[in-house]
Amino acid sequence: MTETTIGLLGIGGMFVLLALRVPVAMALLAAGFFGTWALNGQRSAVAVLSSETFSAVSSYSLIVIPLFILMGNISSAAGFSRGLYQLAYAWVGRFRGGLASASILGCAAFSAVSGSSVATAVTIGRVAIPEMKRFGYRDSLSTGAVAAGGTLGYLIPPSTGFVLYSILTEQSLGRLFMAGILPGILLTALFIAAIALITYLDPTAGPKGAPVAMRERFARLFNAAPLIAVIVISIGGIYAGVFTPVEAAGVGAFVVLVFALIGRKLTLSSLHEVFLDTVKTSTMLYIIIIGAGIFSPFLAFTQIPQGLSDSLAQLGLGPLGTLIIILMAYIVLGMFMDALSMLVITIPIVYPVILSLGYDPIWFGVIAVIVIEMGMITPPVGINVFVVKAISPGVPMSTIFRGVLPFWVAMLVVLILLIAFPQIALLIPNSMFD
């Protein structure tokens, strides 16, 4: 058997294992381990397995994962996220569709402390959806806004997507975080524009909320101040070059914990739960990273990424045509796979192709994260839609999927804008580091 045949069998075997409900980490581990064994023998396979495991669990740069997850979990358990939604509500709730816009703004703000789209959708959705129901919002708009808003958690730093992309491609995490800021703001603005358009065409979809007095608005700003301070310290700290991403995560988690303890927002039991949940989620991610760390060298041994790159070049589509094919493949995959799996499985294959096309790896990180975000709200497997369904069980799945459609289009617009104007993603990282 040739190296390519073994490689194709390995990739095929991994997809079969994934389809057969084998956890992503174990499917990657098994395909990488047995594939390397078939190519180079048992000794080489065990050596890769052993070295990659220690290098992943003892990696300094990966420490951002548990620390940022901890920061988001403490914020959520302490109820700071509710403050963010209430702040957004106070300022935009009185407009038509304002509560849905407040949900988007709440999601965007919470995304700046949480790297998870699911956590963002759950946290804001629990507060926002009942409120929108109370004001007679159409179910499709309320659930669609929260499901789409949640995806911002994957784009706005600190983002788990960028952390994984940075590990898989060895790109600077600080640059990736900074590259996510403007596209994140742009996407937030387009989500709000989509809500404005929906409520303009059908004013009954999102009636106006109760107006909030100016004094109350500032009171809510004061209430949300701790979390805003954490966002400024951690993300601002990275931009200003004061903190590395690891330091920003540690300082952010510590500061939010202090605020929660001073405000008596956490009991010992809830703190215990926060830490248990954090180590559980972090470990799950680490084991996937170990799997990806074993699968990537196997792919490199097989020369498949190189072969794929050559084949795509031979099609004569040019860089843009090839990129469009890759993005279409991502959109199709997003229908069936969750974000995490898609990222760790596809990046080792696609990344060398992107580099050979001459694209900027930081810019592609943003593109990849957005197109993967689209998969989070695409049927039949849209994790954020499932999350929103769990929060509002009375709303049919088809209604939620219908509701996310305008937001999916908004994401597509951002994707097109980013391809046309890569500076949107690269402006901040370039101004910061170059």
């Binding site: 409900r21 669990v57 901890l70 248990l276 180590v279 559980k280």
Partner: protein, 167 residues
């Protein structure tokens, strides 16, 4: 998708939770250490020497002590697209497949780390700056991944017993 079902075998009792609590304490230490390091470095121009090495080793503890809890809580991400199509028996068979593959891969991993820990102990392998011995951390990998494998073995036996009693 992220599973949340508690699949804790009876024998493990609350050991997984205790270990995860230790992992949480290690994480709390990590957070305080990073915070202190950043403040000392920027405010007092007095960085902690070898801070990265300490954090790297604590990171091994954070992950490995939580592996059993992550497994008993069924927190490993799966793609459950074919869940309904597979049916109850199909799902059980795929669970068996996962457990068998997992046990084999983890067996190789644990064995390699037993050898690595023994070598590191014998040759006194240490970190570069602070001379922290490496063998206890290789041992933690044996412990965490070994418990992961053991839980998979017990869960496999529980599945077999369930099938046997059903018959």
């Amino acid at each position: 998708m992220l599973g949340t079902t508690d699949t804790r075998p009876a024998w493990i009792g609350r050991v997984d939770v205790w270990l995860a609590t230790l992992s949480g304490l290690a994480l709390a230490f990590m957070m305080l250490f990073v915070f202190a390091g950043a403040i000392l470095r920027y405010a007092f121009n007095a960085p902690i020497v070898g801070a990265n090495e300490v954090l790297e080793m604590v990171s091994v503890a954070v992950v490995m002590l939580a592996v059993p809890y992550c497994t008993t809580q069924d927190a490993h991400v799966r793609i459950d697209l074919l869940d309904r199509t597979l049916g109850r028996i199909g799902r059980m068979l795929t669970d068996v497949l996962y457990h068998v593959i997992g046990i084999i891969v983890l067996w190789f991993l644990v064995n390699s780390y037993i050898a690595r820990a023994l070598d590191a102990h014998e040759f006194n392998d240490m970190t570069n700056m602070l001379d922290i011995p490496l063998w206890p951390f290789y041992g933690l990998i044996v412990f965490g991944m070994g418990l992961y494998a053991l839980i998979l073995v017990v869960q496999l036996m529980m599945m077999a017993r369930a099938v046997w009693s059903a018959r």
